[in-house]
Amino acid sequence: MTSSLWRQHVLPFTLLLGLLAGATLAGDYFLHRMNLVWVGRYLGIPGILLIIISLIYSLRKRKFITAGNPKTLLTLHEFGTWLGSLMVLIHAGIHFNAILPWLATVAMGVNVISGMVGKLLLSRSRQHVQSQREHFQLRGLSRPEVEQAIFWDAVAVGSMTQWRRVHIPIFIAFAVLSLGHIISIFIFWGWA
């Protein structure tokens, strides 16, 4: 993989993902430091609501609904899922011990990463590999030489194209596991 693909595309993606991890740790530290741990306990509710609202884009994309600007809804989807995931991650960090919600958290994490690969990394990386290919062809390299020169970039892009294969099934897993967690809370929590 050339250094420019790393610097221009992979690094921003890594930084955005790192920001999510950093914000989670900072939020968790802040809540503990300010003795506001109970806030984290309830952050799961707005977090999951944000994620649910952001799914309007998925409904629009699959034509279950026809209203709404797809581009605006995509922005809402990206922002809503990132912020909602942050809230859920902080919520998850506030000490809970059951396996089911941890599985849901792991599924959400994979879902977020696959989604970010799909929208943030894939299209830019494709453009980058294509421009590299054209660049080498203009320099007079033969087709096998061009393919050899961009081999690792092409492999990286090829693996990124698998994001959709992961994104949808893992979202279903996340949805079912989260629903299980929410139902169990409704059954056993003392709401009164």
């Binding site: 741990v37 109970w38 306990r41 000490h95 809970f96 011990n97 059951a98 396996i99 089911l100 919600p101 599985l103 294969r165 949808i168 099934p169 279903i172 897993a173 079912v176 596991l177 299980g180 967690h181 169990s184 409704f186 059954i187 056993f188 929590w189 003392g190 709401w191 009164a192």
Partner: protein, 254 residues
């Protein structure tokens, strides 16, 4: 999504669902129960009522209120009770979860050892020493009872009472409580409990300044500083209209 992925996904989620019903304490329980409740670990509804959480009505099926602190749930006499006096019998209502919780993950959010004193009936609530050891410092050794005059029900420290709001206990007044508050009655005080202040010399000094009303010393004097005359109003005014502060300042300058 391919058919194989759908099948694998469905099987996995079904497995998780089965595990949740077989091992609910691991899958959805927020941490271990206390050792005494260990046998109830996989029987969530022994304590929980659907949609309303842990219910006190379930607690009292094992923990009989009239036996708490005296007998165990198995009916054996408790040889080393946690409190010197059983008090659960004195509660105005059996709201167990107001003070108690379980599951390690839940107990982290609850202040351990907290007790809602408002659940005690009035008579028991006023007898602090029946549950609490009196402090052994030099101040509290002089006092018995009437804790609520200085301390709230929620926490012992800080005390809700600040003596400086009434009178500063400076080095000239570093004395035993009983010098001013006879019989541990902190609703009353006297300034004549020491040799420095006697009824006759106080009267003489005040009458000399034209001050006729001087029964309530702290109304004007909040410290040993004779220049620090804070109040008085009409009560402390000298006959003829001049206020006590001006008079004391003048008096102090003499």
């Amino acid at each position: 999504m391919s058919r194989i992925v759908k099948i694998v996904l469905t099987l996995n989620l079904m497995l998780v669902a089965v595990l949740t019903f077989v091992y609910p304490h691991l899958m959805v329980g927020p941490g271990k129960l206390i050792p005494g409740h260990g046998k109830l670990e996989s029987d969530c509804f022994a304590c929980h009522t659907s949609l309303s959480g842990a219910a006190s009505e379930r607690c009292v099926t094992c923990h009989k209120p009239d036996q708490i602190g005296r007998l165990s749930t198995a009916g054996q006499v408790i040889s080393k009770p946690l409190t010197s006096v059983p008090f659960h019998q004195k509660l105005i209502s059996q709201d167990c979860v107001a003070c108690h919780s379980d599951h390690a993950g839940v107990k982290r959010f609850r202040q351990q050892g907290s007790f809602n004193h408002s659940l005690l009936n009035k008579e028991t609530g006023s007898r602090c020493q029946s549950c609490h050891m009196p402090p052994t410092d030099s101040l509290h050794r002089q006092i018995s009872g009437n804790c609520s005059q200085c301390h709230g029900m929620n926490k012992w420290v800080p005390a809700t009472f600040d003596h400086d709001n009434y009178f500063s206990l400076d080095r000239d007044h570093n004395t035993r409580c009983v010098t001013c508050h006879a019989a541990n009655d902190y609703s009353r005080y006297t300034c004549y409990g020491c040799h420095e202040h006697t009824a006759s010399n106080i009267r003489r000094e005040h009458v000399k300044e034209g001050i006729r009303s001087f029964d309530n010393c702290v109304e004007c004097h909040r410290s040993a500083d004779e220049h620090d005359i804070r109040g008085g109003g009409n009560e402390g005014r000298r006959e003829g209209g001049r206020d006590s502060k001006a008079e004391h300042e003048k008096h102090g300058d003499d």
